[in-house]
Amino acid sequence: MDPEESSQRPPLEVTSTSLLDGLLDPTNDRVWTEFFDRYGPIVRGFARKLRLREHEVDDAVQETMVTFVTRYREGDYDRQKGRLRSWLCGLAYHKIRHILDRRLLRERRASGRDGPNPPLESIPDQDHTTELWEAEWRNVVIRRCLDQIRDETDPVRLRAFELYALQNWSADEVAEELGISRNMVYLSKSRVLGRIAKLREQIDRDWQEGRIS
């Protein structure tokens, strides 16, 4: 094969640093999967907090993701104007609201109280939900950090951190349970938290800018 010809083809694997660039290529499944794994859980948690029913939550995630990609490919998202995080939040909010309004309307019709419009108070306005979105974002990022930490941290140290910092065991109990010194228990906590803080910063930045590091 002519080397020049092959270089003109779109890459099948992610080679650029941008997840968003990869989304422009419809054949790039890896990017789509990463995109879905990354932002899907945030939309899912957000939809649950706004009290969507479980089957509606699935719809909300799927519709938000598909709309994001479609509109991004159509050039609706301008990276210079706003952050990906808030744009995605807006899309998710409108999808969720649409689903909820649709349900309320259906229920009103079923109960024979046909009103002019579905109620506007179906969910709070977007300003009031931003905080929920942010909390969910933080949660999912931390969970991603924990996944990574699991793979790279010594299991005894991780267990010491878990028992001491998350399950409120005393340092003495943890030391006895795992057969390590108390100092090591304290050190495990600080090393794991320090690592999480660094990872969080990096993942948060990458996710906000739609990058792959």
Binding site: A110, E121, R143, L146, A165, L166, N183, S190, G194, R200
Partner: protein, 738 residues
């Protein structure tokens, strides 16, 4: 670093601002200086990230997965290679489990290979760990069975606790399952590739696999059988698991419960024997008939519902039957019975017990084998096999094509099985019969046509009757739906009317189409009860009578029986937690079953009412769980938000309580209209919300408005003692505030 780091260095360390060299210096220092370790522990820079981690980790567990533990070799485990421990010389590391490390070793006196399990050093230091290790050895040592891995000796040497057991060259059933799964994936991928290339998938591997069978060990044989003839894999699996069931039956009769039966504890030897190992969680029942409380240990994927109940339900040998059923389940369909991302999710699913039927996953799985598996995994131990021996029998009956005992086979099923066992004889006899029958049939055919006309007429009449019955059921469902929609809008009078309508439909049902349906009474009773709680009562006697009538119609319904014994909402909080305790225990028990099966609106209303009772009885965890269910079932329900806010407030989670209170308020104001009853509901909600938010003055003001409205009501509407109840209600709620 010899001197202690300064406070600023510690904070910079925690904030990640130091260079790697400085970090290493501080690490080394802290390892030997307890004071600095404690200072580091209190560094403020960690507070923010720790709180986020705590919040995120509520939804999952960090516990190190078993697979990762096994890969990690600690220094002391490496150093044992080549050492002599007691009579055993350590040769090779086989694996690391939760309690100890398993090595291949040679017993020097008898010159035989054994598997040597050595207790982990940290576990050795703890008395409980030593006891458990000893128990494992003792439990296994008292069992002598072909399908139980034998224990030869145990001892203590140079501070190392160990026991020696039979060495089996083979692999765990979990590995076999993994391999079959991988093989299927590969086959599927190559078939797809072949079809994409326009080729037909290669079949030659089948034939060659058959010819090479003699070279395979049992594990390979199972994997290959899955490709060649899945039915034979099922037969072989059933035979192997029947042996394990025999072994379990034997252990149970010796008074030993394994408690951790799972595929990785079923070892398949190369020569085709499946043995039970790892008695680490086993319990020895010293007295026959005695049961033990379950402890929450072991792998949740294969745990029985009573085991995940963690001590609240006694467990007996039937927990092993369940776990063996779960292992069979995974062997058959290649996926565990319940899947979940976290331990809590798996446990939740086991409790709910909604198992996916095997034949929905793989149609090739024989019905009888599915029946055996599902009977072993019945959520209630009473419905499982009485003993592992019975399960073994049924597995063998399946292999030999006899009708199994698990499901009483119909005459047809028995006949089919008989035919399969004696296919040649039956074939000849059937041939003769077919010829004779054909002659007879032709003669009968003409008469049959005449009869058909009569049958058509009867069937038309039946259809007409059926459509009438369907219409009646449709009307009843409509009235009930309407009632619940009204309750969701806090329109209690309308809801009352809708449910009354449903009741009349049932009472006027002369044809018996509706089967004395109690739904109207239940709905009307719940509406009355909720109205009482919210202080917009229409009278206690009505709801009490309704529940009683419903109970008379369905005396065997757990839920209705419970409702008919609900306390008077006015006195519930006064009576206190103790008097409600038995009722709360019952609510906790039935919370999962009957209510979940109801329609969303109905379920939500029941959850709300029960949550109020739990709140009055001060069982806050139960109240929270119930109110959470109410919200999940029906997010449009003002009362759901309100009760959730009240419970959170009583638990001291004020910030969250306020969120939900605000939601309740939003919904209540959305429901406002000119109807005075709705207005009053709005005031009541607002009064309670203000209480949750700690604004007692505003709460008082709103409750005065309710009192004013109640006093203006015409007496015909405020039946019985609605007014005095309404006056007292806001005050009684005060007692729930923290």
């Amino acid at each position: 670093m010899k001197s202690c780091p300064t406070a600023s260095q510690i904070e910079r360390y925690a904030a990640g601002e130091l260079s790697p060299e400085e970090v290493e210096q501080i690490d080394r220092h802290v390892e030997g200086c307890l004071e600095c370790a404690q200072r580091l522990d209190g560094a403020t820079a960690f507070a923010d990230v720790l709180s986020d981690v705590q919040q995120a980790s509520q939804q999952e567990t960090l516990v190190v997965p078993e697979s990762k533990r096994i890969k990690t070799v600690r220094p002391e485990e490496d150093s044992l290679l080549g050492r002599v421990i007691g009579d055993f010389e350590v040769r090779r590391l086989i694996g690391i489990g939760g309690m100890g490390t398993v090595y291949e070793a040679e017993q020097l006196s008898l010159k035989r290979r054994v598997a040597l399990k050595v207790l982990h050093a940290p576990v050795s230091a703890r008395t409980a760990g030593v006891l458990r290790f000893g128990r494992e050895a003792q439990a296994a040592a008292r069992l002598h069975h072909t399908n139980v891995v034998s224990v030869f000796a145990q001892g203590l040497s140079d501070g190392l606790r160990y026991y020696a057991m039979e060495m089996i060259d083979g692999s765990g059933l979990d590995q076999v399952i993994r391999e079959i799964r991988r093989q299927r994936d590969e086959d599927r991928a190559s078939a797809e590739l072949a079809s994409a290339d326009g080729r037909t998938p290669a079949r030659s591997s089948r034939r060659s696999a058959r010819t090479r069978w003699s070279e395979f060990d049992m594990r390979r044989r199972l994997v290959e059988l899955d490709r060649i003839d899945a039915r034979k894999r099922f037969d072989l699996g059933a035979r192997l698991l029947a042996e394990v069931a025999d072994a379990l039956d034997y252990a149970h009769r010796q008074g030993v419960i394994h408690r951790d039966v799972k595929p990785s504890n079923l070892i398949l030897s190369a020569d085709g024997r499946m043995s039970l190992t790892d008695f680490g969680l086993a319990r020895v029942l010293e007295q026959p008939g005695m049961t033990v409380a379950g402890e929450f240990m072991g792998s949740p994927l294969y745990m029985s519902p009573e085991q995940v109940a963690a001590g609240r339900v006694p467990i007996d040998h039937r927990t092993d039957i369940y776990s063996l059923g779960a292992s069979l389940y995974e062997f058959l369909c290649l996926q565990p019975p319940y899947a979940g991302e976290t331990r809590d999710q798996v446990i939740g699913q086991i409790r709910r017990g909604k198992l996916r039927r095997l034949r929905q996953i793989d149609r090739r799985i024989p019905k009888d084998l599915e029946t055996v598996c599902l009977k072993a995994m019945r959520p209630d131990p009473v419905h499982r096999y009485e003993s592992a021996g019975e399960m073994a029998d049924d597995l063998r009956r399946f292999v030999q094509r006899f009708a199994i005992h698990a499901r009483r086979a119909s005459a047809v099923t028995r006949a089919v099985k008989f035919v399969r066992r004696h296919s040649l004889e039956v074939g000849i006899i059937t041939g003769v019969l077919v010829v004779m029958t054909a002659i007879g049939t032709a003669a009968l055919y003409y008469r049959q046509l005449q009869k058909q006309a009569e049958i058509d007429l009867i069937s038309a009449k039946n259809q007409a009757r059926e459509s009438l019955s369907r219409w009646d059921r449709y009307r009843l469902a409509g009235a009930l739906d309407q009632g619940y929609a009204d309750v969701a809008n806090c329109q209690f009078a309308k809801a009352h009317a809708s449910f009354t309508n449903a009741i009349q439909l049932v009472e006027n049902d002369k044809m018996g189409h509706l089967g004395r349906h109690p739904g109207g009474y239940v709905g009307r009773g719940l509406t009355g009860y909720l109205a009482e709680i919210l202080g917009v009562a229409r009278g206690r006697s009505v709801f009490a009578d309704d529940f009683k009538t419903a109970f008379a119609l369905r005396p065997r319904s757990e839920l209705i029986s419970l409702l008919s014994r609900l306390p008077d909402p006015a006195t519930a909080s006064r009576d206190g937690a103790q008097s409600l305790a038995p009722l709360l225990a019952e609510i906790g028990n039935i919370g999962d079953g009957p209510i979940r099966d109801m329609t969303r609106d109905h379920g939500a209303l029941v959850y709300v009412v029960l949550a109020w009772v739990a709140l009055a009885g001060r069982d806050l965890d139960l109240a929270l769980a119930l109110s959470d269910e109410a919200l999940a079932a029906q997010p449009n329900f003002v009362a759901s938000y309100l009760i959730h806010a009240m419970v959170l407030s009583a638990k001291g989670q004020l910030a969250e309580a306020r969120d939900y209170a605000t939601w309740a308020m939003r919904w209540a104001s959305h429901r406002r209209s000119t109807d005075d009853e709705q207005d009053m509901t709005g005031y009541v909600v607002r009064a309670m919300v203000m209480l949750v938010m700690g604004n007692r003055y505003e709460a008082f003001r709103q409750s005065r408005l309710v009192v004013n409205l109640l006093s203006k009501r015409p007496t015909t509407r405020a039946t019985t003692r609605a007014t005095p109840q309404g006056r007292r209600r806001p005050a009684s709620r005060m007692s729930h505030q923290p």
